[in-house]
């Protein structure tokens, strides 16, 4: 593990960034970007915030490859889980005009 200095300053900056992104996500929610884009923007901001927390607060930046793998692996597997379940529902709702 990397030895950081005892300064809290970097974490304060991260906190400020997180609060700013929170404000940003509320503000852009007031703008209508059209169907997929509003969600995409909200998701992008949420992912940025989560990345900040994971990398700095949870010290993944500077940790061993194994820890990085565990962190990324969990997220990756959840994406697979999403992709396969949604492959069914999206087929039924959009490709074939199915039940609503």
């Amino acid at each position: 593990m990397s030895e950081h200095s005892s300064s809290l300053m970097p974490y304060v900056l991260v906190l400020v960034g997180l609060l700013a992104l929170t404000a940003l996500t509320v503000l852009v929610a007031l703008v209508d970007f059209g169907h997929p884009w509003s969600d995409a923007v909200a998701l992008a901001i949420a992912l940025s915030k989560a990345s900040l927390v994971v990398l700095f607060f949870m010290h993944v930046k500077g940790s061993t490859p194994l820890i990085k793998l565990a962190a990324a692996g969990g997220f990756f597997w959840m994406l697979i889980f999403f992709a396969f379940i949604l492959s069914d529902v999206l087929e039924r709702t959009t490709l074939v005009s199915g039940w609503e």
Partner: protein
């Protein structure tokens, strides 16, 4: 490997009673508060044996009822509770913990040369979670049982069933954490606790298969947990999640349920495959053919096995193309499975094969797994599944995998490591006999069910058309043989504890670190921590190894 191991087992001075993990402390407290992985393995062994026989009693009643086409032994309500509780007991409280929590717990630290698992307290917590979860399930059993089938399909489970669904669901939820804790523990142990020199490709294949199993436990079990929470919320508070009456979609439940419950089958079978690799190598006295391929096949089965759950939904009104994707991926599980079988065959080739009980179980495992696996491919074939879905064909298929393979693997492993666990040998004659009875009884029980399935006999029927009776009678006859076969080991294992011959440290003259400590092992596994030489290899058998007493079953 023995020549490469720095530390040999300690042999106390003659006349001195050796201190080991079983006798260093006595009393209930020393067991219930133990953090020793070996003692926790024993705790699990006792608990799951109990649930195995409870589940077996249900199975017996089911088979007796099905002797005749009419409902003459039990009423429909009772029958539905019987097969539900049989499934729940056997799957969640016996099969899933069986090999990992008993043999894996006992052997993995020994095999990798560690003093204990990474998180000994978590290991104990896992057993307590198991006990709490199983107690809740037992509570439901005593107060009237559950009739939803072990699959809890909605909206039947959330709205229409009048039985104790919620306590059982919560029991399985709690028990899920026992599984998750075990998985986390094994993964951390295998990553971080290996002895110096024990590199990844020197690990026994049993450890590899448990690594793959742990992946499934960690990635899959939480999804079942949250699904059962949603079922409980819908049932208890009428939150809308799965019942169409509230706008929900019951097919989503099936997706979520099978996301765990299909890979759960691999939680049962992968450790069994690990056991078979160990046994085949030990009793052919050969390295496992294609070691790396067998190791990666375990990971391959775990990874691909996660992406095939949709084959349970081919007829649930899942999308046609989604069904095809799931079918194609399901087929691919056949490849790593076949790789394992062929490698085991090649391991037997030019071996020095010993006729022993663990070997009988291992070979029985392979034969039954081949049948179970190939019929699994048939079920994954969309065109065949239209007809055999939800029939006895499915019942026969998964019993070939879960009982034919997983239970044979478990019993094989138990016979293989019993001398290490207890320091005693069991009766050769009785163990051969019971292995034979189990193999024959199993096939007589479940092979007719393939035929029944293709004839169209649906699952979960307690009355059925008369033309199916002949095959049902055969099946019940087989079940009675199977039952005898399962009771015999209970007797001779218990008998061996007191009267069995003393095993010695390495009765099979097997390679592997676990055989290089005393039987039963000392409290901290090794008197001197083992170190592997750089040129050490797994399953290294040569004439030098064969010192000491000859194998007990040959003698």
């Amino acid at each position: 490997m023995s020549t490469n191991v720095a530390a040999e087992a300690s042999h106390p001075a003659p006349g001195d009673k050796p201190v080991h993990y079983l006798n260093w402390a006595y009393g209930v407290r020393s067991w219930l508060l133990t953090t020793d992985h070996k003692r926790i393995g024993i705790l699990y062994l006792i608990s799951i044996t109990f649930f195995f026989f409870i589940g077996g009693i249900y199975a017996t009643l089911i088979r007796l009822e099905l002797l005749t086409p009419q409902a003459d032994l039990v009423q429909p309500d009772t029958y539905n509770r019987l097969f539900t509780m049989h499934g729940i007991m056997m799957i969640f409280f016996f099969l899933i913990p069986s090999i990992p929590a008993v043999l894996g717990n006992f052997c993995i630290p020994l095999m990798i040369g560690a003093k204990d698992v990474a998180f000994p307290k978590l290991n104990l917590a896992s057993w307590y979670m198991f006990m709490i979860g199983s107690t809740m399930a037992m509570f439901s059993l005593i107060t009237g049982g559950v009739d939803t089938g072990w699959t809890f399909y909605t909206p039947f489970s959330t709205t229409y069933s009048n039985t104790y669904v919620a306590p059982v669901a919560i029991g399985i939820f709690v028990n899920g954490f026992s599984s998750i804790f075990t998985g986390v523990n094994f993964m951390a142990t295998i990553h971080r606790m290996r002895a110096p020199g024990m590199t990844w490709f020197k690990l026994p294949l049993f450890v590899w298969s448990h690594y793959a199993t742990s992946l499934i436990m960690v990635l899959g079990t939480p999804v079942l947990a949250i699904t059962l929470v949603l079922v409980a919320l819908e049932r208890l508070f009428h939150f809308g999640f799965f019942d169409p009456a509230y706008g929900g979609d019951p097919v989503l439940f099936q997706h979520l349920f099978w996301f765990y419950s299909h890979p759960a089958v691999y939680i049962m079978i992968l450790p069994g495959m690990g056991v078979v690799s160990e046994i085949i190598a030990a009793f052919s006295r050969k390295p496992v053919f294609g070691y790396r391929f067998v190791a990666f096949a375990s990971l391959g089965i775990a990874a691909i096995g996660f992406l095939v759950w949709g084959h349970h939904l081919f007829l649930s009104s899942q999308g046609v193309y989604a069904g095809m994707i799931f079918s194609a991926i399901s087929m691919m599980v056949a490849v790593p499975s076949a790789v394992k079988v062929f490698n085991w065959m090649a391991t037997l080739f030019r071996g020095s094969i010993e006729y022993s009980t663990p070997m009988f179980y291992a070979l029985g495992f392979i034969g039954l797994f081949v049948i179970g696996g190939l019929t699994g491919v048939m079920l994954a074939t969309l065109g065949i599944d239209i007809h055999v879905h939800d029939t006895y064909f499915v019942v026969a298929h998964f019993h070939y995998i879960m009982v034919g393979s997983a239970v044979m693997g478990y019993l094989g492993g138990l016979h293989y490591w019993w001398p290490k666990i207890t320091g005693r040998l069991y009766s050769g004659f009785w163990s051969h006999l019971s292995a034979l009875l189990i193999f024959l009884g199993f096939n007589l029980t479940f092979f007719p069910q393939f035929l029944l399935g293709y004839l169209g006999m649906p699952r979960r029927y307690h009355v059925y058309p008369e033309e199916f009776q002949v095959l049902h009678v055969l099946s019940t006859a087989g079940a009675s043989v199977l039952a005898v076969g399962y009771v015999i080991p209970l007797v001779y294992f218990l008998w061996s504890l007191k009267w069995g011959r003393v095993a010695g440290d390495n009765p099979w003259q097997a390679a592997g670190l676990e055989w290089h400590t005393s039987s039963p092992p000392p409290v901290h596994n090794f008197t001197t921590p083992p170190v592997l030489a750089p040129d050490a290899e797994p399953y290294h058998y040569d004439e030098e190894l064969l010192t000491g007493t000859p194998s007990p079953e040959l003698a």
